[in-house]
Each structure stands twice: as C-alpha cells, then as structure tokens.
Amino acid sequence: MTMNIAALALLDGLAYASLLFLVAVGLTLIFGVLGILNVAHGSLYAIGAYATATLGQWLVAQGFNPWLTFPGMIVAAVAVGVLLGGLIERLLLQRIYSKDPVLQLLVTFAVFMILENLQRMIWGVQPYFMSTPLTVLGNVRLLGINYTAYQVLFLPAAALVVLFTLRYFLRHTNMGAQILAVTEDREAATAIGINASRVYFMTFVIGACFAALGGALATPTTSLVTGMGANMIVLSFAVAATAGLGQIEGAAISALIIGIARSFAVYLSPEIEVIMPYLIMVLVLLVRPNGLFGKETVRKI
C-alpha cells in the first residue's frame, strides 16, 4: 500500500508540476534576461486562462470539433502573450530599464493590480470553466485509479516540449546567445551590435506567452476565479527561486520536487500541504544559497 501511495503521489505530483513549470519558466526566463521579477506574470497566467476558456466555450458553442480546443489554447495564449506582454513591455518596461531594479519590480506590481482589476471587469467574478480538452482525451486507469489522460499524459508532455524547445533556443540559436549577452551587460552587448531593446521585447513577450500558456493549459482542470493569479505567482516565485533564477532546467526539476512534495503531503500530512513549497525553498536555499542550479561564476576582484 505504501508503494502504491508513493506511486499515486508521484503521478499526481507530475501533473501539477508540469503546470507549475510552464508558469515558472516564463518568470525565470524574464528574470534571467531582463533582471525583472515580473509580478504581473500571475495576471498573464490568469488572463491566458480566461481567454482560453472564452475561446474554447465559443468554439464548442459554435459546434466546432472539440479537438479544436487544443490549438485554441495555443492561439489564446499567444494572443494574450503577444498583445498584453508586448504592450506592457513597449509602454512601460521600455522606459524603466535604466532605472533601479526595485522600480522595475514595482511597475510590474502596479501592472499586476491593474490587470487583476481589468480581468474582473472583463470576465466578472463568476468562475469559468472549459473542460473540453479534458473530456476528449478521456481517462486512463493506473494502479486502480482513474486519471485523466490530460493530466498524466498531455500536461507532462507539453512541459517537456517547452523545456526542450526553450533549451535549444537559448543554447543553440543566435537569438538565445544574444539574450544571454544582453542579460549580463546591456552596453557591452550594444557595442557588439546587439539590439538590446529588441531582445528585451522578444524575451518579455516569450515569457508572457509562457505565462498565458500555463493559464491556457490549466483551464481544463480548474475553475477560473479572481485571485488565481496572485496565488500562482507566489508559487512560481518559489519554483524559480528554488531552482536558481534564470535556470530553465532547474525550474523543471524544482517544479517537480515541489509538485511531488505537495501531493505526498496530501497523502501523508495534509496539514502541511500549503507550506510545502516554501519549506522546500527555505531548505534548498539553506544548502545552496543561489538555488539548486544557480551559480556564481563571475570573478569580482
């Protein structure tokens, strides 16, 4: 039975971790490049989810093939990421890159407040739901327990695809290299011909798309309610910090750790479930002050 519980907890943790990773990875990417902890990330997540639900419900209502809700999720996420992310970057962040990092952070906090409010104005306060993708994929039976294929198969697969794409992008593409260079020294990067403001824009938009994608993929399994963004953002902070900020693979692993720890807690000691992510974060940072995979290579003197 204990073996069974462990296996169950692993499966549950996996689905949860996949979502967590998708959201946290955008956060960590933006931080890694722009050096900005984007608090509005949580709102982008929520709005991505709402947009997906709206689009999905419309598709279903119009009698389209329910499988279309899958591309629908991506369309909604990209639309939200590009439009909102693009606007935020162009209208606000552009003006403050040279300023104190604290100011940058606070601008995103202000954006967070605005978006939370707008989201309520647009979608109201009734919970939204769009579970079509979940239904069309059906269930799988593992260890005598019904799981939705969406959660135990599709989400982890999506997370892996994102992980490897992003990894390839950063490591092996020109744009990726430019992103890393700008991250470290904007002036020096400009001096070798890198268009820093384009890099910032691209990165922010990509990060925003991931946030929205996280929301989109969460839609089938959760009710969309006001305040979902505020909760998600702290969790992804915890994931990103545990991993070491800017660490893509690290975010995957720490999302996994946190996700699994959380589901173990549900089985073994439900009381500490909510504290789990923070507990893990404190413990990890205690041993590795720069996070699991963060490193300090720069020689200062």
Partner: protein
C-alpha cells in the same frame, strides 16, 4: 424624530475575490430591491440609498470604510457581511459605533451565541441548521453508509461547518469511520491529489461544504475521474453552484441551500411575487437567483418590517435607532421562502431546504429534486446555548427528523 431625507444603508459584499460569486448577485439584488422600494415611495415615504463596500478589498480596508460610512456618512443601517471572518470583526465594531447591523449572509453561529449584542442581528439562519439539515437528510435517505471523508476549504467556514457536522455525526452514528479530513487551501486550483486519494480510500460518503470556484473545480475533477460512481456526495452549499456546473454534477448528490430558498422552491414557485422576482432578476443578470440573493431579500424584508413595526410602536413617528433595535426581537418578516422571525438573541429562525440533484428538461443544469424543507427549531441551539455544547448532548436518533417532503 423628523423623517430624514433618505435612509442610508451601507452594504458590505464581495465585489472582488472568490466569494464574489455570492457577492455580485447579492449586490444586483440589493440594487433591484432598493429600486422597487423607492418606486413605491420608500419606507414610510423615505427613499433608501445604498452604499456598498467591497469585502474583497481586505479586512483592513473594509473596517476603515465601514467606519467612514457610519461615522462620516451617517449610515442608518448596515448590512454586513458575507464572510464570517468579517462578521466576527464587524459585530463588535457595530456595537461600539452603535449602528444597527444586519449580518445578512455570514454563517458563523458563534457571534450571537458567545456575546450579547444590542445592535447586531442576523436575518437568516446560521451554520448549525445549515449543516444539520443536510446531515438529517443523509441519515434518512442513505443510512447505510459506513465511511465518510470530508474535503472542505481551509478557512473558518470549512472548519466550523465540519466541526458541527462531525460532532453531530458522532452522536448519531458512532460507527461511521471518518477516513480522511482534507482541507485544501482556500481557492486551491487543483484537487487531483485529493481526488486520487479519495479514489484509493473509496469512502461511502464525501462531504464538502465548499463553494464557489473551489467546489466547481472539485466536483468537475471528481466527476471526470469517476469518483461519483464510487461515493455519495453531500454538498450543503451546492445550490449556489448548480447553474455553473451544468451536467458536471451527478444525479442524486445531496445538496443544500443554506436556508429555505431556491428558485424552484416547491411551496413558492407558483407564487406570482416569487416568479416576478426571479424573472426580473434573470432579466437583469442573466442568471437565476442563488441563496445569497435570497439572503439579501430577507435583509430588506427585515428592514421594511422593522421600520413598520417601530413606526407603529412610536405612534407613527420616525423611530430612533434604539427603537429600531428594540423592535427587532420577535420581528416577523417574509422573504422569498417560508416566513421568518427574529429571536431575542437577534438570530433569525429560518427553515432549511435540502434535496438531491436531478435532471430536468426545463433547465440546462441539474435541479434539486426530492426536496425536504425542515423546520428550523429542532435544528437550532436554543437561545443562550452554544451550538457545540448543545450538539454534544444529542441522544442517538436525535436527528431522525423529517422535513416536509416534496415529490418534485
């Protein structure tokens, strides 16, 4: 006293946050009701004016706003609030500020049981009957269950309601084993681990007093993964989620309504006044009313009734607030369910409606069937007694109570 130019009512309700699923419809109701009252000339000729406070903005802001409304804007009556947590803090404040306060929706039974208040009243039932009625219904309709698991939101209501349910269950069915007590965080987005665990445990009954998005998510995830085939669900607050959940709810789940109100109330549904209200509300918001809407109706009904009563007692003159407060005890008024009355401790006596989910051609979502409406008295701790002590003294069979049954 001279009649004022207007009667100022301050209302706290959730415009933001998860509980706005109750707050926003209730607010619409309040606006609708105020328009209606003013259209017929107000209360004794005095038009009413509403002022809203968002409970979702946080307790601090709320308390500040509350004081501002009372002290600076001269509210005559306050309706506060939805959340028990807020009521806990508002009640002593209202008493300090000496302003009439109707706790129009919050459930916690403790406030009026623990302290005496001169200015604080509740215009609907409290948690005790709201939880005991579904339990009585369960005991009557599905007495065969042996194991039970609870999945409640982790905050005052989720904890308190479980405490009451558990104490009562123990007194009636000591043999029932509670196999899991899960309290996922308030507003949790994902219940898959909980669902897996429940599948592994296979309890006969799953109780959840959750509401709003949490309940919706839980029900949907449970349904998708076949938990309904395994366990009987008891959802004392699900009446407020019926319209959203569509066919995600199974047939035969036990649902409650936090009182005796339902837009298909078997005793009222053919009543023209009732129908008119529901139609107007639907026209205004696109939804059928849920319990918080009816609770708002009750608060307004109590308001009108108490002013009538106090004015009469005052020889037709406009009453002082002390006279209003005095008139509250024993007040009888009529919302959109059965008639209500206020006890001497300020607590309203309200019947309870419980039933099972079922399908209907008329609505694209589950409706409540096999309704029973319970009288309030046997389910409420008498004045001066605390609910948990009172439940502690339950004899076996104490809850073998039937409500008025309705075929459909």
């Amino acid at each position: 006293q001279d009649k004022p130019a207007e009667l100022n009512i301050g209302i706290t309700t959730y415009s933001s946050g998860a509980a706005s699923v109750f707050g926003v419809p209730a607010r619409h109701a309040a606006e609708m009701l105020a328009e209606r009252i003013n259209a017929k000339g107000g209360i004794d000729g005095v038009p009413i004016k509403l002022h809203f406070i968002d409970e979702g903005a946080g307790l601090e802001t709320l308390l500040t706003e509350y004081r501002r409304l009372v002290e600076d804007e001269g509210m005559d009556v306050m309706f506060a609030s939805i959340s028990s947590g807020v009521c806990n803090k508002i009640a002593p404040l209202a008493e300090d500020l000496e302003v009439i306060n109707f706790m129009w929706d919050c459930g916690t039974q403790r406030i009026l049981e623990d302290d005496d208040y001169d200015y604080v009243f509740r215009t609907q039932a409290n948690a005790t009957p709201e939880v005991l009625a579904p339990l009585a219904y369960l005991l009557k309709h599905h007495p065969e269950f042996k194991t039970l698991a609870v999945v409640n939101q982790d905050y005052a209501w989720g904890r308190d309601s479980w405490e009451i349910f558990q104490a009562a269950l123990k007194s009636q069915r000591p043999d029932v084993e509670v196999v899991a007590e899960l309290f996922p965080a308030f507003g949790a987005a994902d219940f898959s681990a909980e669902v897996s665990r429940l599948q592994a445990l296979q309890p006969d009954v799953i109780l959840s007093t959750s509401w709003g998005g949490d309940l919706d998510t839980f029900v949907r995830q449970a349904g998708q993964r076949g938990l309904f085939d395994q366990s009987l669900f008891v959802l004392p607050l699900a009446e407020s989620s019926l319209q959203r959940l569509g066919d995600s709810l199974p047939e035969g789940a036990i649902v409650g309504a936090r009182g005796d109100h339902y837009f298909q109330h078997p005793e009222r549904r053919d009543d023209p006044e009732f129908k008119k209200f529901n139609e107007d509300f639907k026209a205004r918001t696109g939804e059928y009313p849920i319990y918080s809407v009816y609770h708002m109706v009750q608060a307004f009904a109590a308001l009108e009734a108490v002013y009538d009563k106090a004015i009469a007692a005052n020889g037709g003159a406009w009453p002082e607030k002390e006279q209003i407060a005095e008139a509250m005890a024993g007040l009888e008024f009529q919302g959109l369910g059965r008639p209500l009355s206020i006890r001497e401790d300020g607590q309203a006596v309200e019947a309870q409606l419980v039933g099972m989910t079922g399908t209907s051609e008329a609505f694209p979502f589950k409706i409540i069937k096999n309704i029973e409406i319970y009288d309030a008295e046997p389910l409420m701790a008498p004045v001066g007694e605390e609910s948990l002590d009172w439940i502690g003294k339950f004899e076996p069979g104490r809850l073998d109570i039937s409500g008025t049954p309705f075929e459909n």
